[in-house]
């Protein structure tokens, strides 16, 4: 708690607003900055500042408080309120810290992947995207969620498209993402419209209170729930609404891929949790049915089919993208259990998966940075060509499989335990089958990297060429963190998950 005494008082009380406004304002300014280096420094400043603030808020929240920040001093439900509690504080910190790590990484990788003229706007879009994600997580107003959702989405379309100078397929991927993302957001806003018709308010807590008084409300709120679930489902790449994801992850600049993979789907999942448990309530018949049967079923389908597709990809990034779809399935399965244990497991996996996938995509980016490698067949000999990067990739890969002493193991342990607690033995089978499929798609890459010799070009074996330090640092930070979570911080992460599930299940308490 010593850390908190260093933080100015106003930063903690206004932290919720500062977190969103800072990147929004400085992002706009960055767009017109003349120098890319300057833009990078501004981004670095914003991300460092946000990370520190978010950490301070996380500590305050961990002490058991809930922060309510009234925008402009208007009281909710009329004014817009920003709420930070045990559910979103860790996600906020996750977004800020991942932004910081990706910015560090970006110093070199953006230079390699984005055209010079576009680099300052790239950072601007990055900050806007970050502001959007933070906004949609921090706000307590349903329509505000939509606005920030679109802020983050639109900047993401731009960011993905910036990958075009490296790989022209980024354009088509970005276009697909735009179409599907807009449809998802529009579905979401239709749902909000219906909710507003039913309750006459947009404050999330207020809607929740009114709906509970109405005992779930009429068919209108039922339809609203359907639209909102589908809309958010598109955003979080819930199977079978995941079609935009592989392309966007595979062809975006690495920095964007990492940021997307470790934050965007997580923020969307947070929204789904918030809407299902706080705005709606699992005691409503329709919510219960949808979660127990549909969300769980789709989650399991994602785990199996996502992992299976991952095995047959020729592009390593697509492999990991499909793996992400499968991992979202794990999270949905935990949500579908509707028990405190299930939610804890799901939330723990949200955090762990962000760390793991971050490390893995960082490593893939480094392979491209040095050798232009993205295809699985080109992995031959990478263990000799880039031992440090491959080392981080190996740690991340083992963690993804769920080997003990890694973060992934904690998630799977929790999830399987929760499934048994719920009496779902079959779910344990699904989890384990999916883990075994993960051995195949990760093992395939690792075997090629370590057991095949480096390729020869013009009769000479390709030489060792390790990634620069500024790329290795964030990568190894995440790789070691995933081991750290597996050994020492597991209890802390699980505690975060339990806090979150406490917040979610509060409604059930008398």
């Amino acid at each position: 708690m010593d850390f908190l005494s260093f933080m100015p008082e106003w930063l903690i009380t206004h932290g919720a607003a500062v977190l969103v406004i800072m990147p929004l304002l400085l992002g706009a300014i960055t767009a017109i900055l003349p120098s890319e280096r300057l833009a990078w420094f501004v981004t670095l400043f914003v991300t460092v500042f946000s990370t520190v603030t978010a950490f301070a808020i996380l500590l305050v929240i961990f002490g058991g408080e809930t922060q309510l920040y009234k925008m402009g001093g208007w009281d909710p439900p009329h004014g817009i309120a920003y709420v930070i509690d045990g559910l979103n504080a860790p996600i906020i910190f996750l977004i800020c810290s991942m932004a910081l790590l990706t910015t560090l990484y970006g110093l070199k990788s953006v230079v390699a992947e984005v055209e010079p003229k576009k680099r300052a706007p790239f950072y601007a879009a990055f900050m806007l995207g970050m502001a959007g994600l933070l906004g949609m997580v921090v706000t307590g107003d349903a329509f505000n969620v939509f606005v920030f959702l679109e802020v983050s989405s639109i900047s993401t379309y731009v960011l993905v498209a910036m990958g075009a100078s490296r790989d022209r397929r980024a354009l088509a991927a970005s276009y697909n993402y735009l179409i599907l993302g807009s449809i998802g957001a529009t579905f979401f806003v239709i749902g909000l419209g219906f909710l507003y018709m039913e309750t006459g308010t947009l404050n999330m807590a207020d809607i929740g209170g009114i709906l509970r008084n109405l005992d779930g409300g009429s068919r209108v709120s039922m339809v609203a729930f359907g639209f909102i679930t589908v809309g958010l489902g598109l955003k979080l790449a819930m199977f079978p609404l995941h079609l935009w994801l592989p392309g966007a992850y595979a062809h975006a600049p690495t920095m964007v891929t990492v940021f997307l993979a470790s934050t965007a789907t997580k923020a969307a999942l947070y929204l789904m949790l918030r809407f299902t448990f706080t705005v709606f309530d699992v005691s409503f018949d329709y919510v219960f049915t949808v979660l127990t049967f549909i969300i769980t079923g789709l989650g399991c389908a994602a785990m199996l089919l996502g992992s299976l597709s991952a095995i047959f990809q020729t592009d390593a990034r697509r492999t990991l993208a499909y793996s992400s779809i499968a991992q979202v399935g794990y999270m949905l399965l935990g949500v579908g259990m509707l028990t405190a244990m299930g939610l804890t497991a799901s939330y723990v996996h949200v955090l762990n998966h962000a760390v793991i996938k971050g490390a893995l995509f960082f490593a893939l980016g480094a392979f491209w940075y040095r050798y232009g490698i993205t295809r699985t067949e080109d992995f031959a000999g990478l263990g000799k060509m880039m031992p440090w990067t491959m080392g981080a990739f190996t740690l991340g890969g083992l963690s993804l499989i769920g080997v003990p002493l890694t973060a992934g193991f904690i998630s799977k342990l929790q999830l399987a335990r929760a499934a048994l607690d719920r009496g779902w033995e079959w779910a344990v089978v699904v989890i384990m089958v999916s883990s075994i499929l993960a051995i195949f798609y990760i093992g395939r890459l690792l075997l090629a990297a370590y057991f095949q010799s480096p390729p020869e070009i013009d009769g000479e074996v390709v030489e060792r060429n390790e990634a620069p330090l500024i790329i290795l640092i964030p990568m190894w930070f995440l790789a070691l963190l995933s081991i750290g979570i597996g050994i020492y911080y597991s209890d802390f992460v699980v505690q975060l998950g339990q806090n979150a599930s406490d917040v979610l299940l509060q409604g059930d308490r008398p």
Binding site: L398, I401, P404, K412, D421, V428, M432
Partner: protein, 494 residues
Amino acid sequence: MMDPQMSLALLLIIPMIASALIFLTGRNQNIREAISLTAAFALLANVIYLVRLVAAGERPSLLLAKFAGEFDIEFVLEPLGAIFAAIASSLWILNTLFAIGYMRGNKEKNQTRFFAFVAIAIAGAMGIAASGNLITLFVFYEVLTLSTFPLVTHKGDEKAKRGGTIYALILMGTSLGLLLPAVIGVQAIAGTTDFMVGGVFDSNVNKMAISILLFLFAFGIGKAALMPVHPWLPNAMVAPTPVSALLHAVAVVKAGVFSILKVVTYTFGPALAASSSMSTILAWVAAISIVLASVIAMRQDNLKARLAYSTVSQLSYITFGAMLASGMAIIGGALQIIMHAWGKITLFMCAGAIYTIAHRTNISSFNGLGRTMPWVFGAFLIGALSIIGVPPMGGSWPKFYLMVGALESELAILMGALIVSSVLNVIYLVPIAVRGFMRPPDNPEADAHIAEERKKHPWVIIPPVLTATGAFILFFFAGDMVDFIRPVLPGGLN
């Protein structure tokens, strides 16, 4: 003085530090191997201290980490674990000596990596030995799998890669797919995964659930190589011989059967395990494994492959004892862990010595080799007799206990499997030594320089002679060991 908790921590710390130092000093062969040996001796001293504590009735424990909510990573040393730790640490010394001779003699590449990963594997084995609950056991089980993977694939060629892939797939697949659900299942049903004398389950627990759990454990612990999850073992034979010695006698397979024994004794409790119908089925599976693997072993010409199938067969003795779950059978299983370790490592080291000195791997080419390498073939014969179970070799005791255990149980018919297997053991092991001593050499001139070669490699000959001696001496200490093991059984079975 020594603190029991510190001592438990040292079980992990010594090999881990050794591994790190080996990596750092890799360039200098002598320093690297000196570190390896020093660590091995330090570990043995530490284990001896702990064994004495355990023999005095203490159960030193150490909480390593609060782990994911209701799970803890905790060390509690009890007799079975102490035995496993003692075997692993003592054989680590001999294996290191042998590895130095073998690796130098055959000019293997990446020796630093080899010694470093062996040290990590030992740390994994120590973790398994000292594990105080199932989740800890599982964690170190996987550490062991992963750390031995680079050892199996040491040669790095296509064959090694294939063997390594099968090794990793079977061991990881069974552990993640069957063992982990079983561990979590125990937690869900019993509310704890701690090891307790007499088991953790209530007497009114669902019998069906127990049967399923027992099944998951028996096949989920793939390292025990119960058929049909045994293929990883013969495939792992592509590794250099010191690795095979380590895998087949010390770390990996013993970790597997030790886990099964521990689970039956401490998680289910012998009474509950014996009353489950699944244990009868699994005892049959184990008996079939014993005979079938012996038959397959007979048909192998490659010495290491024959030894591998022999191992599959011998490991099933322990699973068999665990599934009978009577007092005699469990003691027999525990003794078998010790005796087989000493016997089998002798055989593997002899195989390695023959390969290093004479560059031969196939049994059919051993004619007359015993005359030029009398010590090696002598050691081989003693090891083989111990495996077969001929008194006065150490290996005779576990066979005796297991047979009595089988006779006492309702499965007396399965004693037949043990007898058949012993006969088969004689058929596939003894003729190797006989061929070496009795048959005339195929090509006397070629064997002449073997005698020269022999003098260059003392360190591949001395360790198997030492382990063979050990296999013989252990015969006289069986009584002490039985007394040491007895406290693991709940009151009714003593």
